[in-house]
């Protein structure tokens, strides 16, 4: 456990809490319409425009201003494509539009990871089993030690190094995520079982690499090295940014982890409770929220994964108010603070045990239940 004190609610309170969140969800679903459709289309248009413009400028990459502007535009384009568009569309947030272009199961994104594998590892495994140790493979991505409850091994001495490598190569890390390399290593799964998956990764990764690292550079003729450098940089910028935002979603100080036992047979209210306690928000302006794919509202995203992300900012006001009433913590902070605590955790957990560091204080450890009928999280 990261946090020492977990706020407790009675089953009745949890049910009421769940009903309040259900009501928000139903209200938004009934209100979905033109506003949401034109929002996602605007973002798509901006992304495709930035991509086309960026790639065109990078064909003239031998001119430094063109290289800089092109690389910046392509970086932003890839970030929008993967986060505000790809991640959100693939959650089925826009399925109700009945439009193939934003269909959650048909969408493919501009990154090495095949969309089908992402939908499994993220939408199902991560969102269903959020922060349950042993079930949520996003805890450490099978590479890092991100929880004190993950057993230490000398391998984890390299925790900070692996984190830097993962950040730089994030698209490939994500691409390999659903392979469950740690299970292959442990002999729980064989390479033979993963053949089809590997082939899909190879096909997708090859097309991505061909486009970014061969075709567009070749089109620039003698300017090829500049185009190649711009494309590499744009992918790296997107990788580091996505890593930063995503690691701030569940790993900052104050986020809770759960065990399989304590989440067995959980009710709808308990599920919401786990999503809330396992997630952390980032504060910032509207542009920051768009660039984070609205994952800056990680809490709202985990409560309502299939509601359009651009609505989370509005919902956050209500969710925060509900949390206050139930005395539940609402983990939110600026990027530098949240990411700072993630970095500290990565470094701390490279060492055995609880990392030897001081125990982080729990933000607002509140217990409201006068007589907790049941311990949700054993100490």
């Amino acid at each position: 456990m990261t946090a020492t004190t977990t706020p407790q609610l009675t089953p009745e309170q949890l049910d009421a809490f769940g009903r309040e969140l259900d009501a928000i969800r139903e209200r938004v679903i009934a209100d979905l319409g033109e506003r949401d459709a034109s929002y996602i289309r605007r973002v798509i248009k901006a992304q495709r425009g930035l991509e086309t413009g960026g790639r065109a400028l990078l064909e003239l990459g031998f001119l430094p201003p063109a290289w800089l502007a092109g690389t910046a535009a392509l970086s932003v384009s890839k970030i929008l494509d993967n986060m505000e568009i790809g991640h959100n569309v693939m959650h089925g947030q826009y399925d109700w539009m009945n439009d193939e272009a934003v269909n959650g199961q048909a969408f493919e994104w501009d990154t090495a990871c095949p969309a089908d594998q992402w939908r499994h590892s993220h939408n199902y495994v991560h969102h269903t089993h959020t922060n349950i140790l042993g079930k949520d493979r996003d805890i450490g991505y099978g590479v890092l030690r991100m929880s004190e409850d993950q057993r230490w091994h000398p391998y984890y001495l390299g925790n900070p190094v692996y984190a830097v490598l993962l950040a730089l190569l994030f698209q490939w890390g994500v691409a390999l995520h659903d392979l469950e390399v740690e299970r292959l290593h442990a002999g729980e799964a064989s390479w033979k079982d993963k053949r089809e998956m590997l082939q899909a990764i190879w096909r997708k990764g090859r097309r991505q690499a061909l486009k970014d690292y061969v075709l567009f550079p070749l089109l620039a003729g003698p300017g090829a090295p500049f185009t190649l450098a711009g494309n590499l940089t744009a992918n790296a910028v997107r990788n580091v940014w996505a890593f930063t935002i995503i690691f701030c979603g569940h790993f900052p100080e104050g986020t809770h982890e759960f065990t399989e036992e304590e989440t067995e047979g959980e009710t709808r209210g308990e599920w919401y409770y786990r999503q809330l306690l396992g997630s952390a928000n980032l504060t910032g302006g509207p542009l920051f929220h768009v660039m984070s794919g609205n994952l800056s509202h990680q809490i709202e995203h985990h409560l309502f994964p299939d509601l359009p992300g651009h609505r989370y900012a509005e919902l956050a006001v209500e969710v925060r108010e509900i949390c206050e009433r139930y005395g539940l913590p609402y983990n939110s902070g600026p990027l530098h603070k949240q990411f700072g605590s993630v970095v500290r955790k990565i470094v701390k957990l490279a060492l055995p045990g609880r990392g030897g560091g001081e125990q982080a204080p729990e933000p607002e450890p509140v217990t409201v239940a006068p007589e907790p009928a049941r311990e949700l999280v054993p100490a």
Partner: protein, 370 residues
């Protein structure tokens, strides 16, 4: 033509494997459509070039389909997709224009009181809008080899496919006898009244007869469809091919008459049922019906359980994940019928919508694309 060549060259370039590789994973369409919404390498899309509102209920759209349109046989229908309040809706419409009318296509919709698409088109269709189309479908169509006599019978908005037949035949200089029987509420409710009159006046082989259900005494046909109407048409049903399209009552009456005379093989019919009510009221949440899994060819008696459970009980194994409506892994297309969201009790009836089968229970008959 002079302007055709650069256009064709551009299309060829956009359809090349190189363009595909450069625009992976989204594909060429997703970029070009942002500046040219009607463009697509594969999909049929069309621009609305004119909108006419001939009667109080009808709206006629003139469409210019893109290069992927294969044309149609007079009488066939297309699926028209239009976005209404962010949601794409699809309905079938039969073109009313001549199959030889070049690159334009004319669709007429009659606003149905409980409908979604037709009232929207009547109220809001505008030139410049881009819509999606399917290729033409359906066997209710003029055969390639034209028969010697043709009898066309239509009621209300059923006029469109037979209007297309009449226009096509007149267009190609067909010399056989054509009789056209049309039934409407009154003369103001005939969407193609003027055009019909003009065609009849300009072609000696066309006989046009009207029947008005809400105006006794007007029109050439009185009362409901019957044998005397066929006699008045002046064609021999045993010699002619007959095409009838309209409300169920009219089509059934025609069908019975032809069956009594043993002439089923000479009759083509197309009927439309009134649109399903927008909402199905349910008392306990379950309405008996059958659940059909179209792709697997499996059918089972529906229960109040989520459709995923029912599919599994029927021996199928649809892709799924969380079983609680979060992950959308089990999302599939509901082809027909109504379903209830087991979490909210909300009933949805829209045909062709995407549903999560782990949290959707059937309400009456349901067909899934599984």
């Amino acid at each position: 033509m002079f302007t055709q060549t650069p256009q064709r060259l551009a299309r060829k370039l956009l359809a090349s494997p190189l363009a595909d590789a450069l625009t992976t994973p989204h594909g060429v369409d997703r970029y070009v459509e942002l500046v040219r919404p009607a463009f697509s390498l594969r999909e049929v899309r069309a621009e609305v070039v004119a909108v006419r509102r001939a009667t109080a209920r009808s709206v006629t759209l003139t469409l210019r389909p893109n290069a992927n349109w294969d044309g149609f046989r007079a009488g066939q229908f297309v699926r028209l997709s239009v976005e209404i309040d962010g949601v794409r809706h699809t309905r079938c419409y039969s073109p009313a224009s001549s199959a030889h009318a070049g690159d334009l296509l004319e669709l007429t919709a009659h606003a149905q009181p409980d409908g979604v698409m037709s009232p929207f088109l009547r109220a809001s269709a505008q030139p410049g809008t881009v819509v999606s189309l399917s290729q033409a479908e359906g066997d209710f169509a003029l055969p390639e080899e034209r028969p010697e006599q043709i009898l066309l019978i239509s009621g209300g908005s059923g006029i469109t496919p037979v209007m297309s037949m009449l226009r096509t035949l007149c267009h190609e200089g067909y010399r056989g006898r054509i009789a056209f029987l049309h039934y409407a509420r009154d003369e103001h409710d005939v969407a193609y009244g003027r055009q019909l009159a003009e065609l009849a006046a300009g072609h000696a082989n066309v006989r046009l007869l009207h029947g008005y259900t809400r105006k006794v005494g007007a029109g050439e046909l009185h009362g409901r469809f019957g044998r005397e109407h066929v006699r008045a048409a002046g064609v021999d049903p045993a010699q002619a091919l007959t095409f009838a399209c309209g409300p169920t009552a009219l089509v059934d009456a025609v069908r019975e008459t032809w069956a009594d005379d043993g002439l089923d093989a000479r009759l083509y019919v197309e009927q439309f049922a009134p649109p399903a009510p927008a909402r199905v009221e349910t008392a306990d949440g379950h309405v008996a019906g059958s659940v059909r899994f179209a792709r697997s060819g499996v059918e089972t008696t529906g229960t109040a359980a989520p459709l995923l459970d029912q599919a599994e009980a029927a021996g199928l194994s649809p892709t799924h994940g969380c079983r609680m409506g979060i992950c959308h892994t089990c999302t599939c297309r509901k082809l027909e019928g109504a379903v209830r969201d087991v979490r909210t009790g909300e009933v949805s009836t829209a045909p062709g919508e995407l549903i999560q089968i782990c949290v959707s229970a059937p309400v009456g008959d349901v067909t899934l694309d599984i």
